[in-house]
């Protein structure tokens, strides 16, 4: 499914169903360009929806549209009771890779909504959830404690899974936390180095000796804190912008090269990501 086909569908059959495409073709194409895979987000407004909306139409036997992977209903003011705006995620994923082998790095324009700012619920709605189910009717028929959970984040294709807990519910929470870390590691925002000022979430993970870290940032947030992911994402954005040079990045953060190295080495996944980048640029790994 290409963007063009999706657009034409919306113009053709979509309008028969009361769908209306908002925004011109150019802005849709721009949106398309900003995402790393042929993924497209369309905002559509529906009058008297022809079907009931749910978070994941894939859960029904017949997805209403072949290219529709996920709908995300947005509540509107009460004046427009019959109108619902939904975002369509269009995508042509054909393969599924596990997180450990994902090497693609996503680049998202600075204006894009940051996935890590979403609440758990919002993030979950962008995901498709699977249990590792084998064949069979399930439900009351089974007793296998198949509590493992796999989440696929549809906008980026990132997959995270958890199976360590005895409850599916808790595995879902673990998988979601893991997904946040993976998004931080894999989704890159472009950084304007000329006008660079580190975002607050990055300042919060810096050691107190940083010269640009104000006292209002509170105590340093470490890798075990849930908030670390956002800071890590911003740090990686910067390191990618300076093409892997730790000394260069350290200058922007008011730190010595050694202090920034220690911060990077404090988290295994962060270290691996930085070292992968450095390896691709022919630089020596941090140790």
């Amino acid at each position: 499914m290409t963007v063009g086909v999706a657009l034409n569908w919306c113009r053709g059959r979509g309008e028969e169903h009361g769908w209306k495409l908002e925004g011109d073709t150019e802005s849709v194409r721009m949106a398309h360009k900003t995402l790393f895979r042929p993924t497209l987000i369309l905002s559509l407004r529906l009058n008297n929806p022809p079907f009931s909306l749910s978070h994941n139409p894939f859960l029904h036997s017949q997805p209403p549209f072949p290219f529709l992977l996920n709908t995300h209903p947005i509540s509107l003011p009460s004046t427009s009771t019959c109108t619902t705006t939904i975002h369509l995620w269009c995508s042509n994923y054909t393969t599924t890779t596990t997180t450990t082998t994902t090497t693609t790095t996503t680049t998202v324009e600075g204006s894009e909504k940051c996935y890590l700012d979403l609440t758990d619920e919002e993030l979950m709605r962008q995901c498709e959830m699977d249990t590792f189910k084998t064949s069979g009717p399930g439900g009351q028929h089974r007793n296998k404690r198949e509590s493992a959970v796999r989440l696929k984040h549809l906008p980026t294709g990132i997959i995270s899974q958890a199976s360590e807990d005895r409850s599916q519910h808790k595995n879902r929470a673990s998988a979601l936390n893991r997904l946040r870390s993976l998004i931080a590691l894999k989704v890159r925002k472009t950084v304007d180095l000329d006008a660079y000022s580190p975002p607050r979430e990055l300042l919060q993970i810096l050691p107190p000796k940083s010269s640009i870290r104000g006292s209002d940032c509170g105590p340093q947030i470490g890798p075990n804190n849930q908030k670390f992911a956002s800071g890590m994402q911003a740090l990686l954005d910067l390191i990618f912008a300076v093409e892997g040079s730790v000394s260069e990045a350290a200058k922007y953060l008011g730190l010595s090269t050694g202090a920034l190295s220690r911060l990077i080495l404090s988290d295994d996944s962060l270290r691996k990501e930085v070292n992968d980048l450095r390896a691709s640029k022919g630089m020596k790994p941090l140790k």
């Binding site: 009931s52 029904h60 009351q140 007793n143 409850s167 808790k170």
Partner: protein, 359 residues
């Protein structure tokens, strides 16, 4: 009392009055002879993980048991998988780890001794039951982890399934958008361990909404009461013993919501079930009659009578066929009673639930 229990557990006394719609017939108990109402005197068992760590054992003895138990698990290979799609060695080993977690107090007393919640001799016995008799792991440890709860379960009570966790999400979505439903009275019919009732009690929060949970089995009522108590929800969740709507005579047209995971397996499929399920779990909670729809159709009829306009319901089913049959029944035999009917799938993509609203 023994006679009473036997008839209570017989799955063959489903009513032949499913097509009827008046509350009086709905309220007629399925097994009229089985419903004297002496005070329930079933004493629920305490799950291993909640027992005091009063046993002190040598670490080497525990290791010896563990090695033995692991050997037993490995000897199974994939025998059970081939016979009835039961657990293989790797699943049994995972369960063994969980059994250790529940039985052994951490940290240990010293380098040589551990404190335990169960005697080591009993551990040998329990693991034999697990593997050789195919006793469900949840009955062995006496609990099941379900959503964010750890629920006590024992023989006579259906072990809550991961699939059913989704019903709570449906309710949570509905009440987050509707304050009136959130403050209303909800019912969980055939509550078993009380899983749905307790979770929904939590979802309703402190706004005045409450849950009535019913079950025909006195064992289930006792276990559910134990679980409700453990989560301190006695004020929010009321347990009533009886068949389906029979204990809800006072709620006609008053319920804000109704959920149930009723027996839905067609009778002919019971004999082929995985041994853990077919041999050990209560047939009362599994057997849904010839087409598996007996209880579900009865629930549709009751929902039409007991839900107030705008009230929500969610039922778990055997799969796509039953979902479609239910929708068909509601749209034709109960025309005008329900709206916004929807089929929802579980996480394995099996169409599992029917949800909707009272017109």
């Amino acid at each position: 009392m023994k006679v009473t229990l036997t008839s209570v557990y017989s799955p063959y006394c489903f009513p032949t009055l499913l097509k009827s719609s008046s509350l009086s017939t709905l309220c007629r108990p399925f097994c009229s002879s089985a419903l004297p109402s002496p005070p329930t005197c079933v004493k629920p068992q305490v799950p291993i993980f909640l027992r005091p760590p009063i046993y002190s054992n040598k670490l080497c003895d525990l290791n010896k048991w563990h090695d033995w138990a692991k050997g037993v698990a490995f000897s199974i290979g994939s025998t059970f998988v081939h016979s009835d799609n039961g657990p293989d060695s790797s699943i049994l080993c995972r369960e063994l780890k969980w059994l250790m977690e529940d039985a052994v107090e951490v940290p240990s007393l010293d380098d040589e001794r551990v404190r335990m919640r169960i005697d080591i001799e009993e551990l040998y016995c329990l693991w034999k039951q697990r593997v050789h008799e195919r006793r469900p792991f949840q009955y062995v440890v006496g609990c099941e982890h379900w959503r964010d709860l750890v629920l006590s379960v024992q023989e006579g009570v259906l072990i809550p399934r991961p699939e059913t966790e989704l019903v709570v999400d449906f309710v949570s979505d509905v009440v987050s958008e509707n304050e009136e439903l959130k403050r209303g009275v909800w019912a969980d019919l055939g509550t078993g361990s009380g899983a749905l009732a307790i979770s929904i009690g939590g979802v309703l929060g402190s706004g005045g909404g409450r849950v009535i949970a019913t079950d025909l089995s006195p064992v289930a009522v006792a276990v559910a009461a134990y679980n409700v108590h453990r989560y301190c929800l006695q004020d929010k969740i009321e347990l009533r013993e009886g068949s389906w709507f029979e204990p809800l005579k006072d709620m006609e047209g008053k319920l804000a919501g109704l959920v149930s995971n009723p027996p839905y397996i067609p009778s002919k499929d019971i004999s082929g079930l995985q041994a853990e399920v077919g041999r050990h779990e209560p047939r009362l909670a599994l057997d849904g009659g010839i087409d598996g729809l007996h209880a579900l159709l009865h629930l549709c009829d009751g929902a039409a009578l007991l839900l107030k306009p705008g009230g929500f319901f969610a039922f778990e089913t055997n799969g796509e066929q039953q979902c479609k049959a239910l929708i068909d029944y509601m749209e034709n035999n109960r025309r005008g009673s329900f709206c916004n009917l929807e089929i929802r799938a579980d996480f394995a993509r099996i169409q599992r639930f029917v949800i909707g609203f009272r017109q």
